[in-house]
């Protein structure tokens, strides 16, 4: 901005905080939201700014009048709860690595970027597998928004992954895919470029680990990071393989 230098007490918000406030308020464009989202995943200070602003603005919501929803809503929620989903230690550990808490909220918007610009990607294998075989995973952020979708065909041992991240939102980082079976030990599946789909053979030895209930995660890494056997950067999105 062409403003004079910021005086000590500040007559404007610092650029990072202004951006965080704008993200919490919701005035950024879709690509800017995705970019802010990815920044929150790797910069705790920025995420804290967004959370603080979300908390400052939330009383506008708390001041709204309460309205009782239909009686049918709770039974629908209860039916949709995944069995024992919150129990496992491995699941907790992995979610613990995933980004921000309230950020979710301010943040839940990253995936919408793509969803509003094009219809949701339908993942389909080149040839239909035998019925009931295909496993599917939707990888979501802590805000519950899908950033990646994956499908695994155990018969052909092929994994198809699509990134819903807008290309160019974070040119200085790469997105690394991980398979996390029941024992919680991660296995790298290579990189996935923003906005692309890729079909890859499941590496030898991992095919038997890619079962229903195993997780697929994506971490945000520096391109020149040394070889690592677990994510170094933050886990931006995670989801479980389930039968379709």
């Amino acid at each position: 901005m062409s403003e004079p230098p910021i005086p000590p007490l500040g007559d404007e918000l610092h650029e990072d905080e202004a951006l965080a406030a704008e993200h919490a308020l919701g005035v950024l464009t879709a690509p800017q939201r995705a970019q802010a989202e990815l920044r929150m995943a790797r910069e705790p200070a920025f995420a804290a700014h967004v959370e603080a602003w979300a908390a400052r603005l939330a009383p506008m919501l708390e001041a709204l009048p309460a309205v009782t929803p239909s009686e049918g809503v709770w039974p629908r929620i209860e039916r949709a709860l995944p069995a024992n989903d919150n129990g496992s230690a491995a699941a907790r550990m992995w979610r613990g690595l995933a980004m921000g808490s309230m950020t979710l909220a301010a943040a839940s918007v990253a995936a919408v970027v793509v969803l509003i610009n094009r219809p949701p990607t339908i993942i389909a294998p080149q040839a239909p597998p035998s019925a009931g075989q295909l496993l599917n995973a939707r990888l979501d952020t802590s805000g519950g928004q899908h950033l990646f979708v994956a499908a695994y065909d155990p018969v052909r041992q092929k994994l198809i992954v699509t990134s819903l991240v807008t290309p160019g939102t974070d040119p200085v980082h790469v997105h690394e895919l991980w398979l996390i079976p029941a024992d919680g030990k991660p296995h790298s599946l290579g990189l996935i470029a923003p906005g692309t789909s890729k079909s890859m053979p499941m590496p030898q030895g991992l095919d038997k680990l890619a079962q229903e209930g195993a997780s697929i995660a994506v971490s945000v890494e520096k391109p020149d990071a040394p070889k690592h056997d677990r994510p170094i950067g933050p886990v931006a999105a995670i989801g479980k393989l389930v039968k379709i």
Partner: protein
Amino acid sequence: MAATAASDPLAELLPRIAAGDRAALRQLYQATSSKLFGVCLRILSNRDESEDVLQEVYLTIWRRADRFEASRASVMTWISTIARNRAIDRLRARGPLAYADQIDELEIADDAPRAEALLEAAQSGEALGKCLSELDERTEKVIRTAFFEGLTYEALAHRMEAPLGTVKSWIRRGLLKLKGCLER
């Protein structure tokens, strides 16, 4: 605003929900669903869609309860922010056309709930409502519109018939004043 764990009766439910306790989620639902439904309805103006979003909100809480930190926000702040953002996502997903229609409807119906909310805020001695009302009317309106409709700067500029840079400056200055007022 952000209550501490000791004064927040809902805070003990979150660790139980994170551990997979459905009864705890049900308790949270009973205590908070009408507030969160009010949030969804204010943003979406449609009962069916609001109930869909409400369901998503509690499923999100179920999955993310372990991310809640009582030291940083009250449970109500945390979950109502989730509800608002999910409802805004839904609003944006309707697409630009449906979105434009929505805007006109909302503007007409806007005054009553807003006045009511302000009154309620004032009665509960709530700081944000007071600080918002200290802003000039135009700035308050543009901040509330952005917050409840998820409008980008471009869309706000169009709505307010003002240049983009001007709207951006109103909002940034407004946010700065709000922060200052809340810290007083």
